[in-house]
Each structure stands twice: as C-alpha cells, then as structure tokens.
Subunit: 315 residues, 2 copies
C-alpha cells in the first residue's frame, strides 16, 4: 500500500451515459449520466483518487450516421478523430455531472477531461482482420456505399448490417504522466474516452493515428496497471459474472481467482457477448499488479467495492 490515498480506475459502460434503446437525445444522455454517477461520487467522498474511462458506442454510432448522411457536403472524419470528438463531448457531460454531484455531496474535488492517445502496434493482427462491430445498423444501400469506400461491413448476431473495424490491443497510455500527476493531486480525471485514440510511433513522422478503435475495458486495464491503481472496477449492465451464463444452471460468482476466471473463459462458461473480454481485462490487471478487480452493474458500484455486490477477481 502507498502512503497517500488509494487509486481506483473505473471503466464505465455505454449504459452509464445512454439510456437503453438505440436512439437517445442529448437531454436524455445528460439526465442518465447525472443519475449514473453515484458510485463515482461515493468513492470520491470516501477519499479515493479516481480515474474514469468511458465507452462511446452509442455516440460514435450517431456520429458515423451524421458523417455518412452528410458525405456529399462534408468529407467524413476518420475513426480516430471521431473517438477524439466523442471523448470531448462525453467527457464534458461526465465532468459537469460529476462535479455538480460532488458539490451537492459537499465535496470540493475537481474534475478534468484529458484527451488521450493510446499506443498500439501497427502490425497488430486485429488491424488486418477487423471483427469489432461499431455504429448502428445500416440499410443495405448504405452498407454497399461503405464497402465501396473500403470499409468492411458484416451482419451482426441480429442479422443487421454494421461496420466492423480493427480493435488492436492497447500497449501504453501516451498521456500517462499527465494523468498520473492530476490523479495524485486528487483531481478526478476522465481519460481514455472511447478507449482512447489509437496511435502508433512512426520512426520518421512520430505519432500517427490508426483507423481503429481500442476496447475501453482493455485500455482501462492498462491505465490501472500503469497508474499503480489498487482497484479496477468495470461498471456494466450485469450485476456480476455468472458461470454457465444463459444456461438453466447459471450461477452468480461473488469472487474468482485469476486462474478460475481463465478456466471459465476457456471453457465458454462466460457465454457469448461482452462479459468474456471484461473478465480478460480484469484478469490481466490482477495478474500484473496483484490489485483487486471488480465487475458489477453501475448501480451496485459502491456496494461492490465494500464486498457486498458484484464479482471480485484477485490473484
């Protein structure tokens, strides 16, 4: 344990910002964000140093529609720029909402959004074989137009046409020093928004953007590790990790070792869907740091930190 306050990294799912359903107005998003941030405020008031990573799925989906529909008038933006743009927008919503909630709770702590680049390997195989669905379902004609532009479109599990892009592994958080300085001073830092803007180092040019997206839970795990955080919390829309998920005998797990989690993952016990990568991000963090990771639903965040909800993963 360090001698100062302990540090936690919180990864917020898209459901923390957007209410359920494909389309939501910005007023809905602000309202939902305000309602969602209870666990962050609770941890801040308890004295934790905090860094918050958020997803951008619904928002980048809206931006892709806007860019595609208006393409004859204004050139579409590359994906890295859309990540930066949604990180500005969502960061603003979260920073304002957290700060208002902190003030009501009597806390004077500050909040800041730092636009973050995440270093990836340009030879990462995920970049040549894209599999990550992004954006909303697109009509067939628009799917064909996207393919003519060199984008990849596939049918998702529901049979809808959607863009797929590469999702390379995050190797390092480029703005780490800046984020660490702020976190150490007690600022609640919103960083790696939407997983961070993927970049690589070109030996001649320096940093260069990559047309891809980074998984926000993996980026948050790297950030938690590099910050030396004692706690890594993944806040999602399921209350805990389940064994035999989706089967009649599914079981809620209150704690897991990294090895147990690996076995569940390898044997398909985490089910199809988004839980397996969350568990992998948590296990990677736990193995490399000896810290504690928690997966739970947003509304149970503070209970889970106190061991009363969610799934805790430790070595």
């Amino acid at each position: 344990m360090s001698d100062g306050p302990r540090t936690a990294v919180l990864a917020l799912g898209g459901n923390a910002i957007s209410p359920p359903g494909e389309r939501s107005s910005i007023a809905d998003q602000f309202r939902h964000t305000r309602d969602s941030l209870g666990p962050i405020v609770d941890l801040a008031v308890e004295g934790w140093n905090l860094c918050v990573v958020h997803g951008n799925g619904p928002q980048v989906g809206d931006e892709l529609v806007r860019n595609e529909v208006a393409r004859s008038e204004v050139a579409p933006l590359p994906l890295g720029v859309l990540v930066a743009n949604t990180a500005g927008w969502i960061g603003y919503m979260i920073q304002q909402s957290i700060e208002n909630a902190l003030r009501k709770a009597g806390s004077g702590r500050r909040v800041a959004t730092v636009i973050t680049q995440v270093v990836v390997d340009p030879a990462d195989p995920a970049l040549s074989a894209p599999t990550k669905f992004i954006g909303h379902a697109v009509p067939e004609a628009r799917a064909a137009a996207l393919e003519r532009d060199g984008h990849t479109v596939r049918r998702d599990a529901r049979g809808n046409h959607r863009r797929v892009v590469g999702s390379p592994a995050p190797l390092a958080i480029h703005e780490l020093d800046i984020i660490r300085d702020l976190v150490k001073r007690g600022v609640i830092v919103i960083a790696c928004g939407g997983g961070g803007i993927p970049v690589y180092r070109d030996p001649r040019l320096g940093l260069e953007g990559v047309d891809a997206v980074v998984d926000k839970d993996f980026a948050a795990a790297v950030l938690a590790r590099e910050l030396g955080a004692e706690l890594f919390v993944i806040l999602t829309d399921v209350d805990a990790v389940y064994a035999d998920w989706g089967q009649p005998n599914q079981r809620r797990l209150t704690s897991l070792t990294a090895d147990q989690a690996d076995v569940l993952d390898r044997t398909g016990g985490l089910g199809e869907g988004s839980m397996a990568p969350k568990v992998r991000a948590a296990v990677d963090y736990v193995r490399r740091t000896g810290g504690r990771a928690i997966i739970t639903e947003l509304s149970r965040g503070i209970d889970a930190v106190h061991g009363k909800a969610g799934t805790t993963i430790a070595r």
Copy 2:
C-alpha cells in the same frame, strides 16, 4: 517577473488548422496544422510555459451540416456539446502535431488537451440578441427549417444565409486550477478550444450549459489574465494591426498603447471585420495585467515575440 519560466497564452485562429477555402479534408487539416505550429514549438524550445487556445469555426461549421442533414435519423446536438466535440477533435490534432514537432526539435516537453468550461452570465444581453455568425452558408430551405426549430438565421455580409447565435462575454475559466498546475509543470496545455463550452452556475443544479459560443480571443484574454501570463499572442491571418484599414492610406502599426488602440477602435480605424474584437481582447488583457500583447500572422509569431514583426500592445 516571476522566478520561474515566463508564461505565454497563444490564441490560434481557425486558419492555423484549416487551409483557406470553405471545405477541407481532415488530411488537409492535419497537414496544415503541422505546418502552422512552428511559432509554438519555437517558444517551447525557448523555455516559455505555454497555453494554446484555438478556434473551431470551420470544424463546427462542418458539424452543424452533419447534424442538420442527418436530423431525421439522429437528433442534432446542442451547440455547447458541439464545442466540446470539436475541442476534442482539434485538440487531438494540435497535441499530436505539436508533440511530433517538439521531438524533431529535440524537446521532450509534454502536451495535453483539457476540455474547458467557460463561465458566462445567463443574463448577458448577447444571449437574447444573437449576432455571431456560425457555420457555413445554408440553402434557403435549410434556413427555413432552422428557423422552424427556433434558431436564428440572418444574411451575412456576402448575402448568404447563416445561423447566428449569442456570444456572451467570458467571465472565468472553470478549469483554471487544473490548467495552471499543468502549465507550471511545463506541460503545453491546449485549453478553451473553440472559446470553451459556455456554462453558468444555477443555484440549484450547479453548472449548466448555454446554447451559445464564446469568442476564442476573449476567452484566451481571460485565461492569460487568470494565469498571470506575461505575454498574450493572437495569431491570425493578417501580419499586424493597421490604422485606416482598407483605406488608401492604411498604415501598419508596430506598437500601440492601450489608449491609442481604444481611439482607433472608437473611430472605426480598425475597419469592419475581425480585427476590432482582437484588439479589444488584447487591450483588456494589457490594462488588467500590465503584460504585453501581440497581434500578428501565424508565420511571423516568433519574430513578433522578438519585436521584429506584428503589433505589440502595452499599457
């Protein structure tokens, strides 16, 4: 003079990011940004602590088109959110471009973009009588649709229909402490992008967004004042301030006192267009701080700091 390095605030015009002409691709914008940042790198290498404020005119114009054209599919975003979104996007372009240029120049200094809220008065008369043109020219049908949505549309000096919005005076930079801490540590901070996101303090709710834009030169002047900066540089597309601008007898001014600048402004000697507000922002900073303000074109930035170009305004 302080005992540490001196601080300069640089306000970058839209022409620093977008090449001339109404439409530019993101590749054009990245290329142009890289070519534009010489003065910032020169000042960084000379050891100045730096804070950079940028405009967002062409980019927010593109976003307004995208939001309007796609409105039947996804709800348009309010202006404050578009400012946050362009601050993320342009901040990313500038931070990456400055850092690459610093490394080539042998400097290891860090760069960070901080999403910034700027406090305005909700009773500012500019909010009830909007006069600031934003966005590209819109066709008549779209102008009518905007007006049906409660937006104000006017003909600009060229006879084009464009949206007009309120541009209230910036009163304070909400993230000042965070920006100051980073600047003091030698980080080159990109802040108040697009003039910053206008907000006001609601006694019950806390910070609330305002559907308006803040002039980036005025926001930069407030930031320069609050940071205690010794130098405030407005980088634009004209090499200096001229007396009798646009007249046969126009004269380039190498230096001006605040009082002389006031007289020029009151008598219309600065001409129609964007120079008068820049001079007002510079004069306000000079009067309140005793610091030195410079107005010059981007490519002459470092020469102007050394007194070899541009117009210097002092008490």
